[in-house]
Structure formats: C-alpha cells, structure tokens
C-alpha cells in the first residue's frame, strides 16, 4: 500500500470533497430523510405532519399486503438467484471445456448485461405477450394457455425469467474466471483417482468454486431484491393481484402512486437494513468462512 503524506491539512479534504458531496447528497441525505419520514404521518393534502413513532412499522407488520409482498420477494429472489446462477454455471462449465472460440462465446454471453432492466423487461414482455408473443404460441401447441396478465404464476415466471436472464452474463463471467483459476492438474489427478466427470465436478470443481459461488449468491440476492424494479415496472407493475409486487416495487408504488409517504419511508428503512445485513455478511464471510 502506498502511503502519501500531505503537508497541507486542507488538500486531502479538497480532494475527497467531490466524492463526499455526491455520497452525502445522493445517499446519506435521502437515507436520513427516509428514516425521519418513517416516524411521521402526513395527511392526504401534505399540509399537516405529525410524529407517530413506530406506528408506520407496526402497521406494516399487521398489513397482509406487506407480508404478502415479503413472501413474494423471497420467492422471487430465490428463484432469480437459483435460475441465473444455475444457468450461468452450466454455461461457464461448457465454455471452460471448449478449446476454441472461447472468447467469442464469452463476448456473446456478456451482451445481455449491457441491456437496461426496463428494456430486458419489455423484451421478455413481447416474447411472452399473450396476444402477439412467440412463446405463448409455442406453449399453446403443447396445450398450455399462457397469460401473465391474469395468471399469478405466469406473471411470476415472466419476471423471474426476465430478471434472471439479465444477470446470467455477470454470474457467467465470475464463474468462468473461477473455473479457470482451478489448476487443470487437479481435475487430471481426480480423473486418475477414478472420479468420472460428474463426480469430479461435485467433489473438486464445486468446492473450489465456493468462494465465487458465495460472492455471487449475495450479489444475486441484492440484485433480485433491488435492481429488478425496472423489470417489474415494465412488465407486470406488481400485478396481477399483488403476485409480483416485490418490496422495492411496493416502496415506489405506495410512496409515489399511493402517496403514503410515511409507510413508504418505513418500507425503505426496512430494505436499507436488509442491504446492510447482506453487505455485512458479504464482507465478514466471503473471505473467511467459505475458503478451503
């Protein structure tokens, strides 16, 4: 680590100022505002504001809609994480086995990451559109009547696929790098030790990938809980009947559409705590616990 000594006491603060200003204006200030508002209640016209203590949080805890949203979020986050990590691991293993054109495939597989969540949502919305989409047409031929506008499970499937698809690229890159850092001689030694390809994968490759896997697990949960707002907004808007109304979308909907600022703020404070918890887990365990 290079250490620089400043004679001038002001200079280091000046150099840090732009970053500190951005952090303060766009992160700390809104966060503080959210915490403050979560203890307040505003009337319908925004004229009177009163302090209500933990009432907003208590209301959430007894609200069936919020608990439903919590449940939806868990199902959604787990599905997105499992689907995108599973598929990307499969692709990474396939590319790792290739001898030629590896970089071409890698480049092609990384492209979806450049697509904005809302665009990804619309893309899949078109593919699965019950009227004009190509997938419902195929599903119809095998006797399945796809309609994510009326079917809760279809809607969930759609947002899960659209969200997972976008994250595959990111996971794929990390998995490929992780796989390539495992020395070939380990797999060769296992082959001589009588382990077939499947056994080698589970006994050698997967345990040695565990640091990568754990890192991606946390990143994917955070992605599914927060960055998928655009996907939801562009496809189902939380519907039908709250089936895809994940926590982050509910914060937006209750606050900006429903104008219930106090409740929305309380919800975002809860989300903030979840992010902090995940980040702590990430930093504490990623290096220590999952190393071999």
């Amino acid at each position: 680590m290079k250490r620089t000594l400043f004679r001038n006491q002001l200079l280091p603060w000046l150099l840090l100022a732009p970053q500190l200003a951005i952090t303060f204006v766009f992160f700390l200030w809104p966060a503080a505002q959210a915490v403050r508002q979560s203890f307040l209640r505003e009337d319908a016209f925004g004229i009177n504001t009163s302090f209500v203590g933990l009432a907003n949080f208590k209301a959430l805890w007894s609200s069936p809609e919020y608990l439903n949203s919590l449940q939806v979020t868990v199902v959604f986050a787990v599905s997105v994480t499992v689907l995108s990590m599973g598929l990307s691991l499969l692709l990474a293993v396939a590319v790792d086995r290739m001898i030629r054109s590896t970089s071409l495939y890698t480049t092609l597989l990384v492209w979806p990451y450049a697509v904005a969540p809302a665009v990804a949502g619309i893309l899949w919305w078109f593919i699965f559109n019950p009227t004009i989409g190509v997938m419902p047409y195929f599903l119809d031929t095998i006797g399945y009547d796809w309609n994510h506008i009326s079917s809760k499970s279809d809607a969930m499937t759609l947002v899960v696929i659209a969200s997972a698809w976008k994250q595959i690229s990111y996971n794929f890159l990390f998995f490929v790098a992780g796989l390539q850092s495992i020395p070939a001689s380990l797999r060769e030694a296992a082959a001589i030790d009588g382990a077939g390809p499947v056994r080698r994968f589970f006994d050698i490759t997967l345990p040695l990938l565990s640091p990568t896997t754990f890192f991606l697990l946390v990143v994917n949960i955070v992605y599914a809980m927060f960055d998928t707002f655009g996907v939801i907004d562009a496809t189902t808007e939380g519907g039908p009947a709250q089936a895809t109304n994940i926590l982050v979308y509910k914060v937006y909907f209750d606050g900006f559409v429903g104008q219930n600022l106090g409740s929305s703020a309380a919800q975002s404070v809860i989300l903030m705590l979840i992010v902090i918890a995940l980040t702590v887990v990430q930093f504490r365990y990623v290096e220590k616990k999952v190393a071999y």
């Binding site: 082959a191 001589i192 382990a195």
Partner: protein, 335 residues
C-alpha cells in the same frame, strides 16, 4: 506390477504439429525409467499419453498385457505424481490419500489400513488431518507420493515431481523416491529435464530431443557412450567439450570425425600434450576447479584438482580411449 510397452508411439496435435514421433520403449516389470530432455522435447506429452491424459495419435501403449490406447486414465491402473503436486486443497491429507480408493469402492477398513501404511512409509502420520496449505513443500511432495502408493498401482508416473522444491530438499527427496521404488518394486516412469536427477534415479535413461528418442541405456552406458552429439552435450556435468576436429588435429581419430567430444574430467595438464589451451574464466567448486578457455578459437572446459597450478596457457592431454567421435552432418557417434 506390470511391464509397459510403447510401440511406435506418436502425438500430432489438432493443428498438425508433431510433438512426439516413433517412440518405442520396452519397460520391464519393476524397472525405473527416466525420460530426460530439454523443455519442449515431448517427454511430458509422452508421459501424459501413458497416463491417458492425452490421446495417442499413433502407435500403441500396452500396460501389462492389454493395449490401453482407448482406456480411461482411471482404468489404466497407474498413479501419477504431478509437478505442482495437484493435492485437493479442500481435503485433509487423509482425504487426499483416500480419495482414489473411495472412488473405487474399497472397503472402509481397507482404506484406513492402506492410508496408515502409506503414512508410515512416508512419515506423514502427524499431518494426516491437516489441509495441504498447512504443509511445507517437502511434506506436500510426500503426500503426493502417498496418494500414488496407497493405490498400489501397476505403475507410477512422475511428472517433474521435484522441480518445485529447493535444491537441498530436491537431493533428499530424490534419494527417498529411489529408495521407495527399490522397496515397492513398482514399474516407474519419471520425467525430468535435470540430467543429474535422471542419472541418479534411472535404471535406464531415455534421452529425448525434438519428440524423438536419441538414446536408451543405463546411466553409465549413456554417459560413457553417448549415441549422438545431442546426448553427449546433454548428459554429464560439467558438459562435454564438443570441438570441430580441425581445432584438435593431433588427437587420435579426429582426422575422419567431424566433431570430437572430450569430457572435462578426461583432460589433464601435460607439458608435452597435443592441445594448447588459452585460459579464461576459472570456477572453483571446492574439490575441483573448472577452467574455461579456448583452443584454436573453440571453447574448451577442463576439470582439474583445485591445488594444481594455473597459468595463462596450458598444454593438455586426454586420457587414452576417452575420446568420443561424431559425424559432423548426422551428429551420430562414429567411434
């Protein structure tokens, strides 16, 4: 226990590059064979073909009485020790040793007995429950060998197993490998680029160059009668002097040879010797001294006792019958 027979084995890579060609070696049961050559000579490729980690493009490899060309590495009844040890980092030493036996469905009690036995032979008993990263280089090397011997295979394959160790440990481990092989009498193929390692370990040496065999023989045969200029220059330290015969016209036989080979230790100072050497740099090795110089513009090295007198030029003679004569064009030995 088994013999290994390589018959006209060759390796051609997908791009058409030939790595190994026309290699035939008959390895007797229990024999210790060392494949030696400079890097890129195809020795590792050859070993990996025997192991089944590389496909065999030409010829046949037999282990025991069956052709193994299409047999999976696991079913060839061989064990391999890798240059980087290739220990499974997430498993304890015990698990590392047991993995190959477990995969083959060996009974639990049998595994425990064999692991304990191997640990005793290699003196790694105290480390059985450690992870490989908690071991020193020499201990890791022992574990890697332990993983090979617990399997009690028909053959050991060693791929430069000592090159990651420091010089002193390398000498110790070299001796341990030799003693272990003497004791177990398991057919072994050992790959190295270090000619000293090759000389000390081998029952027979196979000197490879450019994917082809230059010479097969016991270490002394190869040392005393190198079959080609390449082998003459590669085996032996300090390396043999290889001089165009016009620079040493007075030596017996040099008239009809293109290249004359003289080992530095076969040269000695003699007042009326036929070679006049201009002395350059001198290396003191303790017991002996290496004198580097020139004769008629050609480099020449002389090994002499460290108490002998030095001067700017020396008259040298060579021990009778110690000359190696090679054809200039083919590089082959002619006398």
């Amino acid at each position: 226990m088994a013999s290994i027979i390589l018959d006209k084995v060759g390796k051609i890579y997908a791009g058409g590059t030939r790595a190994v060609g026309d290699v035939s070696i008959d390895i007797a049961d229990g024999e210790f064979i060392v494949l030696v050559g400079p890097s890129g000579c195809g020795k590792s490729t050859l070993l990996r073909m025997v192991a089944g980690l590389e496909s065999i493009s030409e010829g046949t490899v037999r282990i025991g009485d069956r052709v193994v060309n299409e047999v999976e590495p696991a079913d060839r009844d061989i064990a391999m020790v890798f240059q980087n040890y290739a220990l499974y980092p997430h498993m304890s030493v015990r698990q590392n040793l047991a993995y190959g036996l477990k995969n083959r469905g060996t009974p639990r009690a049998d595994i425990d007995r064999r692991v304990a036995q191997a640990a005793e032979i290699l003196q790694i008993g105290p480390y059985l429950d450690r992870k490989p990263r908690a071991l020193s280089g020499g201990q890791r090397q022992r574990v890697a060998m332990g993983r090979a011997i617990v399997r009690e295979p028909a053959a050991f394959l060693f791929d430069e197993p000592l090159s990651n160790l420091d010089a002193k440990l390398r000498v110790t481990m070299r001796l341990e490998i030799k003693e272990l092989q003497r004791r177990l009498r398991t057919t072994s193929i050992y790959v190295t680029h270090d000619q000293l390692e090759a000389m000390t370990l081998a029952d027979r040496l196979v000197v490879l160059n450019g994917g082809r065999i230059e010479q097969i023989g016991t270490p002394l045969e190869v040392y005393r009668k190198p079959a080609s200029v390449f082998v003459a220059g590669f085996i032996g330290s300090p390396a043999m002097n290889l001089i165009p015969s016009r620079a040493v016209p007075h030596l017996p036989g040099s008239a009809h040879a293109g290249i004359v080979g003289i080992r530095p230790e076969d040269l000695s100072v003699a007042p009326d010797g036929p070679i006049l050497m201009q002395v350059g740099a001198v290396e003191e090795l303790g017991a002996q001294r290496l004198v580097h110089g020139h004769v008629e513009g050609e480099a020449l090295t002389l090994a002499m006792p460290s108490d002998a007198l030095l001067s700017d030029s020396l008259r040298l003679t060579c021990r009778p019958g110690s000359l190696h004569l090679f054809d200039a064009n083919s590089g082959q030995r002619i006398g």
